[in-house]
Symmetry: none
Subunit: 214 residues, 4 copies
DNA sequence: GATGAATGAGAATTCATTCAT
DNA sequence: TATGAATGAATTCTCATTCAT
């Protein structure tokens, strides 16, 4: 899934094994990072958690930061794939957007911890890896941009061209918001209510000001 | 300003001195945390940056985490005070909301680094301190809730009661978004454009669909 | 050539193969040891350099120190054989000594890196291996002793018997000196000049003090 | 004594204390390096040997290599100072040279282990430090050059100008030879015999061949 | 109150060697 | 015979915190 874990060199040459072991590492490390954060997690803990000896683990990575990169990359890939497959089943236009938002919010809720992790630890990645991760984020955002564009084209959504990108970002953020404001939101709304309200508000914005809002 | 730094015990008893030294610590540490993150900053660096010896610094705090708490508390207080004083000049209702949003966004942009810092390091706070910081965040959010309520009361804003709190959170998040998505947004919009568009979208939501759409 | 690599046990029994593989190991390791020193070279690097897998390499040695021993032994054997074949062509007496010195210095210059290696890493050999290597050094030294003795016998060299061994050692060291002082000597003399001067000085010593020096 | 240990930064600022602690470190490390070599000695062993905690030791150095530098620098300084003070008492010309050689050999014998250490571990120094150490070696060598020049000037030594530098290097090396060939020489000569013979041989060289050899 | 030297537990990473295939 | 993945003890270095002066 995360095709680009190839970027990280490993001592072990067997590609299949590398992929398998890295999945182990990702699984173990992700749990720990979510629970304790990247810096509070030691490499020995990661090794223990994923059932490898410390030496073996280091045959598959070069540094602790590599583990963070693997984890972030994995989460983004997972997000992207889930969202893409969700959007595939989605119709177009206004109705499609409604479904897409619901799927997005559902994915965010399901991967709440992981999303939070990305938001808090991405800055700990070394420069190049960070750029890569941000690019991934932008790709995902553009999925929503496309949906909006299709809606505009088929006339079910009315939106000024200059705010299409902004709306896409807004949708992304309102989804993520469920994870990083859950301490407040969970007491106020269920995910369903949250989704319903936000969707209504967002759709409200997709009516051209002149005909709708004025 | 940060009345609650009193929570943190200090060896030194002279209240005034404690306050002065802690301001030094906050200033130095904040810079460093923004640049390198909490975990990558050492206590020695903090001491050097704020012009105290490491021993002296420890007369005014009990642990490195205390410094993070002081910094987070300071940033929240600063945010709150700036926003409050900005809102004081603000009229009420629809127009007031417009101004409030603009002020909020301006404050976010000005304190961009600090806001980012809070979002990335709050989770490193020990339990109690974190609750305190989150409470502060909720207080600030409720400032917007009040504005919305006033607007509803004076009839310039139409909003279902069940989404008032949600709208307040949304406004908060759309402001913060300028800081944590600046890597993408800065290339698309100036702060002024961003503010204008988001305000338009938000106001668009404050008209009840049924009556407003007409 | 290095008959005594037999001392080191190997899992593989085929004598020929053992000899072939060990030559590979020596070649690869020698390069690396010269470049990085024994301790800074890893067994993995040695294996890679000599085209064997790490597992295979360990079929032919028992420990990393064995590799050092093989290398040191090889270098000494090479030195001895080159010097011996050079001395074979050499006449006797004063003239023979002159040629022998020139050959010795030439060999030292050609094997500069290897000689340096021996001087810096011999102490890393385990006790027994070190004794063996030192014995080899003594054997080579005695080649010069013999030349001197022959010169004394044929009357072309005049030298007090008590300093014959010393002179032999001196000749050895002045040759090696070209390698371990090259950082200074290369700036002062070419190898030819160096050889000419040292030879003159040495021959000057081979005149009995009573008749010559007084 | 080793004025240039200033080159190595230390966390501790008190110059006097730094000097004192570094003397401790040098003493302990030197012993260990002589016994086991640089690479086989651990930082913890060094710390224990010199009576500091590992943490404290690292307040006075930046890396293990710094310790090697301190040790090498110390040995060179010691050599230089001993030799200089020995040479001060020395007359000039032929007789002066005789005494200088004796002093030099005595110092070499006394500091046998240290000299050996330098010869075997200098290559482990990082580039700049190595250059510095080699410069020191050259300075010491030039002390002998001066003695030779004085002898030539006052007519008690006859030596072609082109071999003066070479002779100086030879004297240096013949002294060091007592340390790195002691495994062979100790069985053949006492230090006194060794000194007497080598001195005779060297002085023999300081008579111009044409006039002397007749 | 201020200082800064001392401490040592703990962290990341390496690497010689083994052994199942 | 050949391979290379697995191992974990050992190593260097860091850093929050303390405490004697």
């Amino acid at each position: 899934m995360s095709r680009d874990s190839k970027r990280i060199p490993s001592v072990v040459k067997n590609r299949q094994l590398v992929e398998k072991r890295r999945q182990q590492i990702i699984r173990g490390a992700c749990d720990l990072f979510v629970r304790k954060g990247f810096h509070r997690t030691t490499t020995r803990e990661i090794a223990r958690e994923c059932g490898l000896s410390i030496g073996t683990m280091y045959e598959y990575i070069q540094s602790k930061e590599d583990v963070l990169y693997l984890v972030c990359d994995h989460i983004h890939s997972e997000l992207e794939s889930r969202l893409k497959s969700a959007l595939a089943e989605t119709g177009s236009g206004r109705e499609g957007l409604t479904k897409a938002i619901a799927q997005h919010f559902r994915v965010m809720a399901e991967m709440s911890d992981d999303v939070l992790l990305i938001y808090q630890e991405t800055k700990s990645l070394p420069g190049e890896a960070m750029s890569y991760v941000l690019k991934k984020e932008e790709e995902i955002t553009s999925l929503f941009e496309e949906i909006l564009q299709r809606g505009i084209r088929d006339g079910t959504l009315t939106l000024d061209p200059s705010v299409v990108k902004l709306m896409a970002h807004n949708i992304m953020v309102l989804g993520q918001m469920w994870t990083f404001r859950r301490w407040a939101l969970k007491g106020l709304y269920t995910l369903e209510e949250y989704t319903r309200h936000q969707t209504a508000l967002l759709l409200n914005q997709c009516i051209h000001p002149k005909t709708g809002g004025k």
